[in-house]
Amino acid sequence: MAVFEYAPAPESRSIVDIAPSYGLFVDGEFVDGSGEPMKTVNPATEEVLSEVAVGTEADVDRAVKAARRAFTRVWGPMRPADRGKYLFRIARLLQERAREFAVLESLDNGKPIRESRDVDVPLAAAHFFYHAGWADKLAHAGLGPDPRPLGVAGQVIPWNFPLLMLAWKIAPALATGNTVVLKPAETTPLTALLFAEVCRQADLPPGVVNIVTGAGETGRAVVEHADVDKVAFTGSTEVGRSIARAVAGTRKKLTLELGGKAANIVFDDAPIDQAVEGIVQGIFFNQGHVCCAGSRLLVQENVHDEVIAALQRRIGTLRVGDPLDKNTDIGAINSAEQLARIRELSDVGEAEGATRWQPACELPDRGFWFPPTVFTDVSPAHRIARDEVFGPVLSVLTFRTPDEAVAKANNTTYGLSAGIWSEKGSRILAIADRLRAGVVWANTFNQFDPTSPFGGYKQSGYGREGGRHGLAAYLMGADSE
């Protein structure tokens, strides 16, 4: 029942200058890759944005050698305060070029400009700013008196928050004195390559940051390279398993940030309108391409109908479409492959007996799109209640007592995040204690901050990113395991 129609409010893409092709960033230079180059497309239009080099084992080897050299000769011996200053420079450069990064991210990933502009890019800059300050204070981090860097970190990141995940990986690695070889996701390499340019503008010594683009094989080469001391991976639990197997028996230190199937628990005393905003933020933020997405709504039975009615009303106002439009709430699904998976799991949801609801919404003709979707009548055994969909698909289950809520919330092999909605403080704290999840959002959801440790329990992985805890992943010393 819109009173006024929205006028289009497109962000201009003229601020970005995408080259027709990109090489690998190794030892401070852009170089050709040895593999067959790949194309990266705008998922909202299927337009090819650029052609990007693919790194082979030999390319990865060159990058690791450059990183090792930089570690031994420059970055390792450097005064910690100077390492920090480089990171401060990078943080400032990201802020100066924020709009450019935001537009490029939305083009390559499909996420709404509102999110890339207000979340991804500012948080990425904040991560560098935060970690910059740690560089010369590591002895005070509670990790022993003399924590030392590990050496060369091999890092593999996903496509859902391309620049932000890069920042989560590179900032702590550099602050603790390591050098890095980073492989961006196959479908979203462009902001990482623009970041390489930022490294050059910051005069970061060559080899400290190396960016090797490619697909799974390139990532495998990074993980399995014998001269890598540290492996950090964010992505699916399935790939996480194979990485844990690959590093078994080596001295490589490993951190994994994997999948999730978070419960978002709504008690009957919760302020329903606020909870509905939180539910929407929890599952539709970034098209649901979020490992900590609140994909299982657990709602107390006596308010189920009220919550679902309010939720459907709210979802009806979400705007799905052009990621560069400043009014867009839900952008494009990142790839055809991901869209196929979301469709498949949604079809399974219906086939297994759950009830699908989607608002009336027009989707663009070209590109990869999936409307916001709510499944009710979901049972805990359904695949849409167990498997990570990684899309804008919410499964609704009910509970009667707090004990049942906790049991259902913990009934998953994952343990990354959870949400609690209630006005009662004692209940929130008691439930938070009993949830087996690394991040618990009470009366909020999907909040992130560089000072706040993030990471999973159980099969959602191990190690933390952010805060004092995140530093331990990149240091050795008496107390840094």
Partner: protein, 291 residues
């Protein structure tokens, strides 16, 4: 000829599982000898089924043990040290026989083991302060991080140091609120069985610690691949099998403590926090601030 000397009552060495002392369900035992090869006892040889039963017991005990107040856990663990002290002579005898140590060196090892247990007992109510944090996020939120136990931890105990080594790997697991399934030293299991008797009389709830005498090479793979085991300490794994166990552990994304490079360490050294950190998760909780 009839001697006037009293004939001693010998102990049957059994498993410690779920707070009870069963034989192996397999009915198997193996001969334990002293360092010179003389017969000491027939120890139970735990089977795959025993290991799985122990995991069930450890899982059942986890809820209460992990939710006990840190002060309570500290007192229970301190009580363990008190009862160990009362068994000092017995531990010395078993350590001396099994490890082939002089009386003086065996006593030093037992002293250190009891003191190590006291050290860990004192950690229970400091961990949250030392490892937790209040996080100054850029927004109107109260945001804090606390350590929480990982869950059920399988421990392949050191093969050489039968009591000090055992305590050094077990105490950090339970002090931080986890429950444990321990495979003891294969050749030197007797002090572990006695420690089980100490635990059973020290207010440690049944199932919190389960001690399996037997062979880490045999039981290691089952524990490494078990989906209800959250973490595994490979300290006592056969060196040539550790990589295989770590690969098995990847199936359920277990936390893995690798065997120390260069073999069994000097257990008398300051242990630091590494072992406790390995078996702790960090939970971060956010709540908005507002009127």
């Amino acid at each position: 000829m009839i001697s006037n000397e009293r004939l001693t009552v010998r102990k049957t060495y059994k498993l410690y599982l779920g707070g009870a002392f069963p034989r192996s369900e397999s009915g198997r035992t193996y001969e334990v000898t002293d360092a010179r090869g003389a017969f000491l006892a027939n120890a139970a040889r735990a089977s795959r089924k025993d290991a799985r039963d122990a995991v069930v017991a450890a899982r059942a005990a986890f809820g209460k043990w992990s939710a006990a107040t840190a002060y309570n856990r500290g007192q229970v663990l301190y009580r363990v040290a008190e009862v160990m002290e009362g068994r000092h002579a017995q531990f010395c005898e078993e350590v001396a026989a099994g490890e082939g140590l002089s009386t003086g060196r065996a006593r030093a090892a037992v002293d250190a083991a009891i003191d190590r247990w006291v050290w860990y007992a004192g950690w229970t109510d400091k961990l949250a302060a030392v490892l937790g944090s209040a996080n100054p996020v850029a927004g109107p939120y109260f945001d804090f991080s606390l350590p929480e136990p990982t869950g059920v931890v399988a421990v392949l105990a050191p093969q050489r140091s039968s009591l000090l080594g055992l305590v050094s790997v077990l105490a950090p697991v339970v002090a931080s609120g986890n429950t444990a399934v321990v495979v003891t030293s294969h050749e030197r299991p007797l002090p572990a069985v006695t420690l089980g008797e100490v635990l059973a009389t020290s207010d440690v709830p049944g199932g919190v610690v389960n001690l399996l005498t037997g062979d880490a090479a045999e039981l290691g793979p089952w524990l490494a691949e078990h989906d209800d085991v959250d973490a595994i300490d490979l300290t006592g794994a056969p060196p040539e099998r550790a990589m295989e166990f770590e690969r098995e552990a990847a199936g359920s994304i277990k936390r893995v403590l690798r065997p120390p490079a260069g073999g069994e360490p000097d257990w008398t050294a300051d242990p630091g926090l590494t072992r406790m950190r390995t078996f702790l998760e960090t939970k971060t909780v956010w709540h908005p601030k507002g009127f």
